[in-house]
């Protein structure tokens, strides 16, 4: 039994469907305690990777483990990992409570867990409604409740924000952060960057089945830059390059606008004042995660 770390580890993971490699030699690690976003455009291989982690799809080669074990080797899988996959459904005749009751029994969990997870996820108000009559948002909550029945150490959620209204997205964000803060490993896949920007601290980025980047969200942004507009932008560039040399990188954005990397707004404003160069605009800027993502995946 694993009593230590509930890392998600992927090594050399490959899945070939027919002649198409959905995932190629993928490797990354996800640690407990923070929310990690699993990013990539649609069709990048996120869902296939998650399904391999969950033992639903057999890898062509490589290993995908949770706490050092394959999903199917876990002694009590549903008490270790909670997962929500995009394609899951419910029996239409079952009420929300029936559904949770079936899976609480299947996982060998106490009956009292059904009421606990319903309270946690906000399912209680529609507990007695048949699942055929649930809205998309209610279904999302019921899936999440099902995943939490076993009070799992690890949560894997495939596109959890799909179909949620803004209020639901905000609730989910806070909820996942709380679960991570309790020391759980939380991996959420998404192709909507704005959704994870505010909830995830770590990212794993894949594209066409391969790893593009992995690390802290802050690192993904890269270096801060300053946007400067001046009728004498050329002179300013010359002055800054002469004073700071190779530490500065300048990009022309237009006839009188430049983006300067490597200096603070204070450095630039002082240099401009010293040389009597008028500045019409000086704005610190950070690339959005969207830009960083496009840059990383090469889809300009």
């Amino acid at each position: 039994m694993n009593t230590g770390s509930w890392d998600i580890e992927v090594h050399g993971l490959t899945k070939v469907f027919g002649s198409v490699a959905a995932v190629s030699d993928l490797g990354f690690t996800v640690s407990p305690g923070t929310v990690t976003a699993f990013l990539g455009p649609n069709g990048a291989g996120k869902t296939t990777t998650m399904r391999m982690l969950l033992g639903l799809v057999t890898p062509t080669s490589g290993r995908a483990t949770i706490g050092g074990l394959r999903y199917t080797e876990l002694p009590r899988p549903a008490a270790t990992v909670g997962a929500v996959l995009d394609t899951s459904g419910f029996h239409p005749d079952h009420t929300a409570r029936d559904h949770l009751g079936v899976y609480a029994r299947l996982g060998g969990f106490a009956r009292s867990r059904v009421d606990e997870v319903m309270d946690l996820t906000g399912v209680t108000p529609f507990a007695g409604r048949r699942t055929r009559a649930l809205s998309t948002g209610m279904r999302r909550r019921l899936h999440l409740a099902t995943a939490l029945l076993g009070d799992p150490h690890v949560l894997l959620l495939d596109e959890p924000g799909n179909g949620l209204d803004p209020e639901g997205v905000a609730w989910l964000r806070g909820f996942l952060r709380r679960l991570a803060a309790e020391g759980r490993t939380v991996l959420i896949s998404s192709h909507v960057l704005s959704e994870v920007e505010q909830s995830a601290e770590q990212v794993v980025v894949i594209d066409r089945g391969r790893l593009v980047a992995a690390g802290a969200v802050a690192d993904l942004y890269g270096e801060a830059a300053v946007r400067v507009r001046s009728p004498r932008a050329g002179s300013l560039t010359d002055v800054l390059l002469a004073a700071h040399g190779g530490a500065v990188h300048v990009t022309d954005l237009g006839p009188d606008t430049v983006r300067i990397h490597g200096l603070t707004t204070a450095d630039i404003a002082s240099a401009a004042a010293a040389h009597a160069i008028p500045l019409h605009e000086i704005t610190p800027e950070r690339p959005t995660l969207e830009q960083a993502f496009l840059h990383l995946t090469g889809h300009h």
Binding site: L56, V57, A78, D93, G101, R105, L106, G108
Partner: protein, 270 residues
């Protein structure tokens, strides 16, 4: 902490899953209905059938009525085919596979839960039919053509047949996870294919071991076997004993279940 999910938890989960569906209600109604239908036939009396058959005061008359109930064993088999198919249809198969990743345990749990449900179905059907049969005899003021003990034994064999057929349905349904296809194949086999097979020279010798022959051994109704003997001129095909017939039928269910675990259930769930 237990090392793995207990079989009891699995069976209890599958029973709850089934009990909370409308299928369980329709199943109970079907059981009541088939029992009631046969009871109605008993009340009408075989002597009023077209063509007329021997009455309830004769052994063939009682057997004819009970034989019709035996034919209704096909209904629980159809209900059984939905056990696995509905998981695919309603896309609960993913969640089920996550909670019980060893896929044979899931099928074993369904077989156990449906064995109980099938037996309940059989008991409802034979209780209604049996009550109507004895009632009809009392109303008509005749004594049944078979001793009470024999009638009760035949009724319990039909109940067991219904439970066994439910399992055959579950196993075939797991092998062919398309609900409609599984039902069509089961129906075609029992009502057409097996009869056609018997026309092939030599196959007749195998009849006791074919599903239909095993069913006849279990229920004790030998219309087809007798008709076959008449047509082909040979002696009556010797059927297996009832317990052996049940074992052969269960064997078919086990074979279908094993193939289902090895082939369709092992596939990637995408």
């Amino acid at each position: 902490m237990t090392a793995s999910i207990s079989p009891r938890a699995l069976v209890s989960a599958e029973s709850r899953r089934l009990a909370a569906t409308r299928l369980s209600m329709w199943g109970s109604l079907a059981a009541l209905g088939s029992g009631g239908f046969v009871g109605l036939l008993a009340l009408v009396g075989p002597e009023n059938f077209d063509p007329p058959a021997p009455g309830l005061d004769t052994a063939p008359g009682v057997r004819a009525v009970l034989g019709l109930l035996g034919l209704c064993a096909f209904i629980p088999a159809l209900l059984g085919t939905t056990a696995v198919a509905s998981e695919y249809r309603h896309r609960t198969i993913t969640t089920t596979a996550l909670f019980a990743p060893r896929r044979w345990t899931m099928l074993a749990a369904k077989l156990a839960a449906y064995a109980i449900a099938g037996l309940a179905y059989g008991l409802i059907a034979v209780t209604v039919a049996g009550a109507a049969l004895f009632g009809a005899a009392a109303v008509k003021g005749v004594a049944l053509g078979l001793p009470t003990a024999t009638v009760l034994a035949l009724l319990s064999r039909i109940a067991v047949t219904m439970a066994v057929y439910t399992l055959v349905g579950v196993a075939v349904g797991a092998l062919i996870p398309n609900q409609v296809a599984a039902a069509a194949i089961l129906g075609a086999y029992f009502y057409m294919i097996e009869t056609a097979l018997l026309l092939v020279p030599g196959v007749k010798e195998l009849y006791p071991y074919l599903p239909g022959g095993a069913t006849a051994a279990l229920t004790g109704f030998t219309f087809l076997a007798d008709a076959l003997a008449e047509q082909t001129g040979g002696g009556a095909a010797s059927l297996l004993s009832a317990p052996l017939g049940a074992t052969v039928l269960l064997g078919y269910a086990v074979v279908a279940a094993v193939i289902a675990v090895v082939v369709p259930l092992r596939r990637d769930i995408t």
